[in-house]
Amino acid sequence: MNDAQTLAVQVAAIEQVTPLIKHFTLKSVDGGPLPAFSGGSHIIVVMRGNLRTHRNPYSLLSAPHRLDAYEIGVRRMEESRGGSHFMHDEVKVGTRLEIAHPVNLFGLDKIARKHLLIAGGIGITPFLAQIEDLRGTSVPYELHYAVRSAEHAAFLPRLREREGERVHVYYDSEDQAIDFAGLLSEQPLGTHVYVCGPAGLIKRVVDTAHAYGWPDSHIHWEQFSAPPVGDAFDVFLSRTNITVHVPHDRSLLESIEAAGVEVPYLCRGGVCGFCQTAVLELDGELLHNDHFLSDAEKARAKSIMPCVSRARCKSLVLDL
């Protein structure tokens, strides 16, 4: 994906659904239908600020059969590098944005016998679209949704209205917690578990599932990492023959793009592997922050995901 292939949309509605989460409705500028997608898909929103351009991934939460509008939920991040603050503070009804076509890296297994959906906080968004796909099937599913407190339970009225008792909500403020062992030790054969939310929740679910003998093919998770800040460094791009400076608060990918070099990407969150780039020379160490490369590949230091990973180095040469 690159910016030449984006869709032009306009913000049709904004609703503050919790103290931290805003719900945006986007419609195409020409009023026509948007591309079809499946539950679990995300889009990249391109935000052109005065000083810099942000490109953040957001899961689509609207029903996949509705193509007149896309809906996303954006949580205001405390340690934002600017993207979520831009969405919260600068974007108004009528603002025009560019978005990349939907991509699904978190799809439902088509032949599962049961779906177990586990969300933490803003991680509820991909499931809102998925349950729209599931409601038309005879396959059983359950949704378990953990939030800080009642006032932070985004989209709960919509879920309650559509799903009733199929939604199990857990409030941290009332010391309610998901019984991971109870849930994962007693599921019928052919069940798939999906988890989206904070890193700690994902780890609990994946570790507990493994402990009860779940194979990887039945465990699905998605977490978009925001590119972490770090020390500034320089990178030499061998094919374009230029040196690019990566400031402390900008990602490697953003810095390369700002220098006018296009890198193919899909998720910008360390998940999909699309921006994988070969490391030709390195004097120092790579700081891998992605969920795509294996530990062995990370140790070999022969490739890097510039969307979220950085380097602490005297020199770095990339095959770009």
Partner: protein, 195 residues
């Protein structure tokens, strides 16, 4: 040598200790392969024997003296597979399936496992005994059992079928295609190729 990638590949069974429950199916010589896995579990994860069920037929392989959850010997393959299906209905996530025996038996067992959405990382198979094939006639869709020759008469429509290496997991059978379609009665020599 066929280049068809659909032909199943089997490897000697090993215990998969990442699983919590172990369900083992063995036919004839396959029982000895299962015994080897049970011995391995006994050595590396003795607790798991209490969560291990062994379903057998056409064998006198002794499994006594081990603390297994169950060992059942059925009088027919059909009875074994019926019990297998009923067991899967009650089984939980975390189950590993082991199947050992002739290929046509493995194929029928995996056909059932597939309907319960068991994936490759939950199933291990070892081929023991005959290579006889189940053959699916692409013309009348009948299945001919126990085929040992390159050319066979279809049990449904009586056409002469050439047995291909193209395998269907869904049908648990190899494809059979009319062998003398170009010139009726002109057949290559019939040979036993799947002993």
């Amino acid at each position: 040598m066929s280049v068809n990638k659909s032909k199943p590949v089997y490897t000697p069974l090993r215990a998969d200790t990442s699983g919590r429950f172990h369900l083992m199916l063995g036919l004839a010589e396959g029982a000895a392969a299962l015994h080897r896995v049970v011995d391995e579990l006994h050595a590396v994860a003795p607790d798991s024997l209490g969560r291990t069920r062994v379903l057998l037929s056409h064998t006198a392989e002794p499994f006594q003296g081990l603390e297994l959850a169950a060992v059942h010997v059925f009088e027919s393959t059909t009875a074994l597979l019926a019990d297998f299906r009923a067991t899967l209905e009650r089984s939980l996530m975390g189950t590993r399936l082991y199947v050992a025996g002739p290929e046509n038996f493995i194929g029928r067992a995996l056909q059932i496992a597939l309907s319960f959405n068991l994936n490759k990382d939950e199933i291990r198979t070892e081929h023991c005994g005959t290579h006889a094939r189940r053959v699916h006639c692409v013309h009348c869709r009948a299945t001919t059992e126990d085929v040992r020759t390159n050319i066979v008469r279809c049990s449904g429509c009586c056409r002469w079928l050439a047995v291909r290496d193209h395998y269907s997991r869904r049908l648990a059978a190899y494809m059979g295609v009319m062998a003398d379609a170009e010139a009726a009665g002109e057949l290559p020599p019939v040979q036993e190729v799947y002993p």
